[in-house]
């Protein structure tokens, strides 16, 4: 049984990578306009951030209501790097991710000592603080009007156009998925799942709970800042809105809707939250009510999220037909 599970997990991981890769290749053939391609880019970017948050929420069982703050730091780093430090935008992105990781490392230590609602409130405060800094430091960030992000130039080639960004963000998503799956199946991943089930039990078994929580917090912050940086580079202009509290809530919704602890789920969750409003423009007055209804129905009938629920249903049917 356990051997079968491990085999399935390894194959399953490869399978989800191959599936996502195939989807990336096939989607452009189905798209008729660069508007649809833009939606895909936005989905890939938010999915990256959601996958990072899922590592924290779905595997380590720690909630964060301030992830948009990290998203915002990534976004502003690609704008501030060139304007303040004279870095090239392409270099600013990794620099921003590193800065964000460092910040998460410093702040994570005290914050992660908190549990449950207290942790939620602390991360919420962190996110809001970052939002306030971005909107109030007018001299540095341009305030509520935001600031321009210079285009990436690689050896004289200007990176622009939605199609180019489709491939860049698509590959970034693929790398994120690969990293996340590797982490989940590493000893660290096992330790995280132990923490998720019971912190006491995990520490009795010799898992350094505080250290692993911090590691995953830093990793998920890096995912969010990478996503934010890519979105800023693609859009060419950013406003403090990228780090708004509602974006944090959106990210949490993506994770929960798609399925906690499911990497593919985060992608599905992001796709739903980004694409659905585009279909609901015809009934604008009821848009929010409709979105809410979908969420309620999902939570009632698919309690563990869309992807885990569906795959469980498929598995149990297969099990039935076997026996």
């Amino acid at each position: 049984m356990s051997v079968f599970d491990t085999v399935q997990r390894v194959v399953g991981n490869r399978l989800s990578l191959i599936l996502i890769g195939a989807m990336l290749l096939v989607l452009p053939l189905l798209m008729t306009s660069s508007f649809q391609m833009r939606l895909a880019v936005v989905v890939w970017v938010y999915a990256m951030a959601a996958i990072g948050l899922n590592l924290l929420m779905g595997f380590a069982g720690q909630v964060s209501l301030g992830h948009a703050g990290f998203f915002g730091i990534g976004a502003y780093s690609v704008a501030l790097g060139p304007s303040q430090l004279g870095l090239s935008p392409a270099l600013s992105l990794p620099a921003g991710i590193a800065f964000c990781g460092l910040l998460a490392l410093l702040l994570g230590r005290p914050i992660l000592k908190l549990k449950g609602h207290y942790l939620a409130v602390a991360t919420l405060g962190l996110g809001m603080l970052i939002f306030m800094i971005l909107s109030n430091e007018v001299e540095l960030t341009g305030g509520p009007d935001g600031m321009r992000v210079p285009r990436v130039v690689i050896m004289g080639w200007k990176v622009k156009g939605t199609e180019t960004w489709y491939w860049i963000t698509g590959i970034a998503l693929l790398i994120s998925v690969w990293l996340a799956l590797n982490l989940i199946n590493s000893p660290t991943g096992l330790a995280l799942r132990a923490i998720h089930d019971s912190e006491v039990a995990a520490s009795v078994l010799g898992v350094d709970v505080a250290r692993y929580k911090l590691i995953v917090f830093v990793i998920s912050a890096c995912f969010a800042s990478a996503a934010g940086g890519l979105l800023a580079l693609y859009n060419g202009h950013i406003t403090p809105g990228v780090s708004d509290f509602l974006v944090s809530v959106q990210l949490v919704t993506m994770v929960v809707l798609g399925g906690m602890g499911s990497v593919g789920g985060s992608l599905v969750g992001a796709a739903l939250i980004i694409i659905l409003p585009q279909f609901l423009t015809v009934m604008h007055e009821y848009e929010h009510a409709f979105l809410g209804l979908i969420m309620i129905l999902t939570m009632v009938f698919m309690r563990s999220g869309i992807v885990p629920s569906i795959s469980k249903a498929i598995r149990s049917r297969r099990h039935d037909s076997n026996s």
């Binding site: 989607l27 798209m31 939606l39 895909a40 936005v42 509520p144 859009n235 060419g236 809105g241 796709a271």
Partner: protein, 379 residues
Amino acid sequence: MKKVVKLAALGAALTIAGGVQAADPVRIGAVVSQTGPAAFLGEPAAITLKHYVEKLNEDGGLLGRPVELVLYDDASDANTARTYATRLVEDDEVSAVIGTSTTGATLAMISVFEDAEVPLVSLAAGIQIIEPVNPYVFKTPHTDRMVCERVMIEFSERSFDQVALMTGTGGVGKSVRKECTEQAEKRGIEIIADETFNPKDVDMSPQLTKIKNTPGVDAVFVGGFGQPLAVVSRNYKQLGIEIPQYHSHGSASKVYVEMSDGGAENARVTAPLLVIADQLSEDNPLRPRAVEYTKAFRDLTGEDVSTFGGYAYDALLLISDAIKRADSDDPQDVRDALEATKDLPGVTGMFNMSAEDHLGIDHSSLYMVTVKDSEWVLE
């Protein structure tokens, strides 16, 4: 993942169907912030656009074809605004776009219109939108710089050489403070007190006491947005300050006067045209549209006319006028005609566009009014 594919395919099918169905009407796009923190800007704009597109169609549409308004709500978010901008030019294939309500989101949208070569008429105040001039980007609201110019001109005329600034820490207040400091410097007016207030402050006495105790202040200029402006005037009266009180356009609303408990009496306010439309002389070319819009807006909403709705009125007016003159709804022709707009009376001012000026109105479209017995008096 399959869901994504299905959704995308469905999206493709829908847009193809949409494209065939709507080959006939003249299509005008709009992105406004109907929800979110900027809803106070976007809601009157949406009401105005819907009403006047309906009216255009009652009068026979444009170029003998019906007009279709494709309106999206960006929820006050720059990224969403950019997505809808892409949708408007790529999928809806509109001739021109109106929007959006905030400066940041407009700036995020601009490159979409530049690449697609479709004209955009923004409803946001920021001067960065039209400076430097982008061939495809226009806007209708006057800038904070024009407000400051107007006030500083009056300060020069009355030889107020030493003034105090009292500005909010919100977006509008910050912009007013920056522009007015520059304009004051330009005219040799010295700012000898510079105080700020937060958007939720309920008492401004400390700041005002400081200004009161600064010797030689000739006038106080108050800039910002919303409720705190009334608080300033209320405290002004309570402290018995005699120095002339000037306000930016943020105070040009009846709510400000009512909430100030009489503190607004004798205050000079930089008011947009709509506020004093009924006081303009009968032969003023700006009068008819402004009076008609004031009445129409009250009939529609039961509320006093909104300057923010007026910006949308003017954007639609500019675009429909340009389509008529160009005798075409091709985006490039509409852009050229927009730039050639001459002597078009709108409800914000008289529009005169040129290749160098994509706003087309100047500070003469702002009126200095005095509050007398809780009413606006143009003098």
